[in-house]
Symmetry: C2
Subunit: 487 residues, 2 copies
């Protein structure tokens, strides 16, 4: 089954990075065939018999801790999958595979209508699946649980509510501040080759292993861990923005460090992946924001940036670049958003996904609903759907329930960063010396190596000594932006 997953992962990577268009329809059939077979194996009588055998008390008692975890993961997946008719599942896989290609074109043309029929089918099939799986409280809970086990609408309403309570007044204070960073120098023309070279340099500094990965270019950046020896990332290069590709690369690089450093003992098992999307996002966002957007980072790497773009930053000080890079500005595009307003982008998607699954919003309403919520939450309105409702790849793949992980990731990241800072005797000092490898080692040791053999909750308890606590993120944001905006 892991072999099938790896093959399918490679096909998806290829479809996104450069597969010829005319071959896509047939390739989608291939994905459908392999996914169907994978699914049949996962719900086979053979799998059922294996699970029965290993769950018998006598046999179960003899398993190692890791093997017991493997069995329970397989059992959970088995029970979940048994409820979907294999034929329907295969149709769903073909659908989402075609939808992703359709989305890419729709986004380019800002043409929601061409994507709408795909999205309607995807949402309808998710409703159908939720009814088969069952749900408690809110239909959307069943989807949330897939990405962050145990997460519910009730909890998210609470956590996001608390976060919003703190972020909104902080945002107001920032917007009222006269100390706005000058960002004009970020918007010059930057050659793609130079952007790529600098991105590769920073990846190397982070300890990304190029013998176990590669960097490519796609419309929407992503990381894919095919096995720990092959963890690929992508970014996109904007010709007039020095930061977009760089922070995209660091973000995906954070995901990749996680996957590259999973213990080789877990290869070929269902535990050879990140423990949850929230913890995964905590790592991408830790590297992107906590490290990459820190003053310490730019005190060390700003001269490298200057050298990579000769003449383009001669009159800009490191401190000015740091402040510009942390400009807070409500905007339209999630992946370009600053750390603070980012959470509001997530809340828009969270509200919409909730509404799609309690039936209060239809797919055909999405462009309008999207634009309204952007006005309400962020005070900005897309001029076309390409920079609005079509901006993210996620829904084309049916990944409803995924978005909240980003905000959870911010919270986990802030909490983990606090412990790391204490245990390594000051993260800033290390970063300022360009010593990022001890940080990668610490995270590998505490988090990455375990893959999915520990739960998110076990990880966060083991590393920080307490359950998820959103106050660390609030504290971090307040300290950082009070300083930058001299509040």
């Amino acid at each position: 089954m892991k072999s099938y997953e790896e093959a399918i992962g490679l096909i998806y990577w290829d479809m996104r990075t450069g597969a010829p268009k005319k071959g896509i329809a047939q390739r989608s059939e291939v994905v459908g065939e392999l996914s169907g077979e994978l699914f049949r194996m996962s719900v086979s009588d053979e799998m059922g018999a294996f699970l029965d055998y290993f769950l018998q008390e006598d046999n179960h008692g003899q398993l190692s801790r890791t093997d017991r975890k493997i069995v329970s993961e397989c059992k959970k997946e088995f029970d979940r999958s048994k409820k979907i008719p294999p034929q329907r599942y295969q149709e769903y896989v073909v659908l989402t595979s075609q939808a992703e290609a359709a989305w890419e074109e729709a986004k380019d043309k800002a043409d929601f209508a061409s994507f709408q029929p795909y999205l309607e089918k995807i949402v309808a099939m998710n409703h159908e699946f939720i009814d088969l799986w069952g749900y408690e409280g809110h239909k959307y809970n069943t989807l949330l649980d897939m990405y962050e086990p145990g997460m519910t609408v009730a909890k998210l309403d609470q956590v996001f509510g608390a976060l919003r309570e703190q972020v909104v007044p902080l945002l107001s204070a920032i917007q009222a501040s006269p100390h706005r960073p000058d960002t004009s120098f970020l918007k010059q023309q930057f050659e793609k080759e130079k952007q790529k070279k600098f991105s590769l340099f920073i990846l190397e500094q982070m300890g990304y292993d190029f013998a176990a990965g590669r960097l490519d270019e796609t419309v929407h950046p992503f990381a894919t861990g095919l096995n720990p020896g092959d963890v690929r990332i992508t970014t996109r290069y904007l010709p007039d923005d020095v930061n977009s590709a760089l922070f995209g690369t660091i973000h995906e690089g954070g995901h990749a460090l996680y996957e590259q450093n999973i213990s080789l003992e877990l290869v070929g098992t269902p535990l050879c992946t990140g423990t949850s999307m929230g913890i995964h996002e905590s790592q991408s966002r830790f590297w992107e924001n906590t490290i990459g957007r820190s003053r310490a980072f730019w005190s060390r790497y700003y001269s490298d940036l200057q050298q990579h773009y000769p003449g383009q930053f001669d009159r800009v000080e490191a401190e000015a670049f740091y402040r510009a890079t942390n400009e807070v500005k409500p905007s339209l595009i999630r992946i370009e958003a600053d750390e603070l307003t980012y959470n509001l982008h997530i809340m828009v998607r969270y509200e919409i996904e909730k509404a799609l699954f309690d039936g209060s919003v239809r797919v055909s309403d999405l462009p309008e609903v999207w634009n309204e919520k952007y006005r309400d939450y962020l005070g900005v309105v897309p001029s076309h759907n390409g920079e609005g409702v079509l901006q993210d790849v996620h829904w084309s793949g049916g990944a409803f329930g995924y978005f909240p992980s980003y905000a959870l990731g911010n919270m986990y990241a802030a909490q983990i960063a606090r412990t790391l800072d204490r245990e390594l005797g000051g993260t800033d000092a290390l970063v300022a010396e360009g010593r990022l490898l001890p940080i990668k080692e610490w995270l590998s040791d505490k988090i990455y190596q375990y893959g999915k053999s520990l739960t998110p909750s076990e990880i966060i308890m083991q590393v920080t000594g307490e359950e998820l606590n959103p106050s660390y993120l609030v504290e971090y944001l307040r300290a950082k932006y009070s300083d930058i905006y001299k509040l």
Copy 2:
């Protein structure tokens, strides 16, 4: 089964074009798993029952001609495969997958010893398989038949004997000629980007469809038809040789035109591929040599070449370039060989393969045997194994019996070219006007569209009105080189 083949094809393409090294071992497991499953399907009771059903006289009579051909292809494959234990087959696939990576490193380091154990296992397993399949006359016949149905050692000894009889005196006459082309201008420094751009330009002229393919860079150029909408080719760029990448590209482009133009009605069937390796090679070599190395071609495209390499060919006439490009010179590397001596490179490999399977040569002897034969046939001796016995990828994949296809391809190509010339009213005139598309259309119409639904013999009869006749190649070579060398 076609879906599995397509997935495996993509994995191989990826392993050769840029997969991270550390992921290869695990990827080989994936290939082994999928190939094993493909093999199990091909020999399954279900397949047996399908074949029995469709071979029943009542049912068979109702099938279309194409469907009957599908059934007979599956039956042939089924009977062949049934004789190999699935476990042994899977081991073989894993072995050849690892061997290919080992070969690439061994070739780089000119280190035969590191590759020898892989090759010994591959040869031993082929012996084992031949014993299971059975053979008539010579063990090697069984392997030859896989690439060119019906081909035998007896026939090849005869055909190659006849060819050698004509080629050797022609070669002597050429070497004695005082009219040797000046080739000095071919050996300058050529930027990779310019080489790539010119290669892409010529591919476009040939009618290669970039929406159904792409060009990448590998150690050993190849073409892979994943489906007619995704036919990828690779080449390699030598910094000091203007022709290597170009003719590699045209060669693989010829293979690709074949695969891109197979009728879409055959997609998803076992007939959606070239009919034999010999016919496939006839197309790559037709485009590379008959078209690409013709005087008419350079009368049309030489000015484009000059423009792609500004200043580098200012003082060279088109005719001089044409003659240089057709220099006859015994050399070490097959894929760099001229049209005439190329056949001698094939004969070396043919003799060695024969000997490996009648037991007269051992794998450990290969470097020595190789070097001896190169001295005997071509009068040159490799200075290291990287430019000797390790130069070709084929054996690492277990493709014994494949090499003769190249020489067969030359013969088919010459015969087909004669008919094409007559039917289109002069190929040279079209080429001299840059009208390559009518040639592609004619070949698509006569050959490509049929895929494997006609046999090689049916194709050559249908197109040229007679069976394979090597005299066309001899005639073509004599006319071309008598002119160039003023014999």
